[in-house]
Amino acid sequence: MQTAPAKPPQVDAKLIVPFVNAVRHVLRTMAGWESNVERPRLKQKQGPEYDYSGIIAFSGTLIGTVVVSFHRDLAVKLVAAFVGCELPADTADFADAIGELANLIVGAAKAELGVNASISVPTVIMGKGHIVARPSDIPCIVVPCKTDAGEFAVEVSIKAA
C-alpha cells in the first residue's frame, strides 16, 4: 500500500520577511555594509558548522529561536565595522559585539512583526566548528546573507504560541 509523501511543514512567510529586512537594515546602518539577502529556504538537515553564533529565544506570543551565525574571518571584519575598531576574537568584548548584532537584528524584526513577545538576552557560542540545533517541532528557515566580506546565515525557527 502506498503512503502519501509527508507534507512539508507550513511556514508563515509573514514571520520571515521582517528578518530579511532587519539584516539589511542593521548591517547598513550599524556597519555601513550592504548585504544581499538571498531567497530564504527551509533547512533540511543539520549544519553547517560555524565559529560564532548569537542565539536569541522568543517566548510569550511567539516561541522559538533565531540564530545568527558566522565563520571567523567574516565575524572579525563585521565586528570591526560594527564597533569601529578591531576587537580580539574570542574575548568577552567580541562575544558582546556578536550578541549585540543578533540583538539588533532580532529587535528590528520584532518591531516589524509588531508582536508582544519577550526576547531573551543573547547567548553567544564561540568555538570553531559548532552546530546549533533548533526546536525540532518548528520549521527552521535559513536566510542566507551575502556581503563583500563573505556569507553568513540567520536561521529563524519561530511560530505563534
Binding site: 517566548s59 557560542i125 540545533a133
Partner: protein, 151 residues
C-alpha cells in the same frame, strides 16, 4: 537562589530516573572533557530573567538520546542528541520556573554541539553550576541570572 540550587540537585536525578531510568549521583566538581560536548539551554523571561543550561559529553548525550527515542541499535544523530538534551533541559527549566516569581515565560530549548566552544549568556552571571555523575559519565546543570547591580 540557594533554594533553587537545592531543587536542581533534587529534581535532576528524578528527571533522569523518570525519563531515562538512569541513576545520577552528585559529583564534586564540574567535569572537564576532551571530547565533543553537547549543551542545551532554556531561557526564562518575565518577573525573573535568566537561563537553565545543561552540558555533557557526546557519549552521554548519545546514550540519553538512544534511551529517550528508543533507538535500539541505531546510532543517534547529532539532532537526536540535541533534541534529547533539549527535552531534559526543558523539564529542569520548567520545574525551576515554577519556583520563580510570576509571571515568567519559558522559551523552547536551543542546543549546541561541538568540540571546543564556550557558551556565554550575555549580561548574565552563573548563579550555580551543579555537577552530576552517572557511572563514568558526567554532566552539569547551570542556573544563570541576568546581571543585577548592587544598590
Amino acid at each position: 537562589m540557594q533554594f533553587i540550587e537545592q531543587e536542581i540537585r533534587r529534581l535532576t536525578p528524578e528527571i533522569w530516573d523518570a525519563m531515562l531510568h538512569l541513576a545520577l549521583d552528585p559529583e564534586s566538581e564540574v567535569p572537564k572533557t576532551q571530547s565533543r560536548v553537547v549543551s542545551a539551554c532554556v531561557y526564562i523571561t518575565g518577573a525573573w530573567n535568566g537561563a537553565v543550561a545543561l552540558s555533557c559529553d557526546v557519549a552521554f548525550a548519545s546514550e540519553a538520546a538512544a534511551i529517550m527515542f528508543n533507538l535500539a541499535d541505531a546510532t543517534p544523530t547529532t539532532a537526536d542528541m540535541q533534541d534529547a538534551l533539549g527535552e531534559l533541559t526543558n523539564m529542569i527549566g520548567g520545574n525551576v520556573k515554577a519556583l520563580l516569581p510570576e509571571p515568567c515565560h519559558l522559551s523552547l530549548p536551543s542546543a549546541v554541539e561541538g568540540a571546543d566552544y564556550s557558551v556565554r549568556i550575555l549580561r548574565s552571571k552563573v548563579v550555580t553550576q551543579v555537577p552530576f555523575r552517572c557511572g563514568n559519565r558526567s554532566m552539569s546543570v547551570s542556573l544563570l541570572e541576568r546581571e543585577e547591580r548592587a544598590n
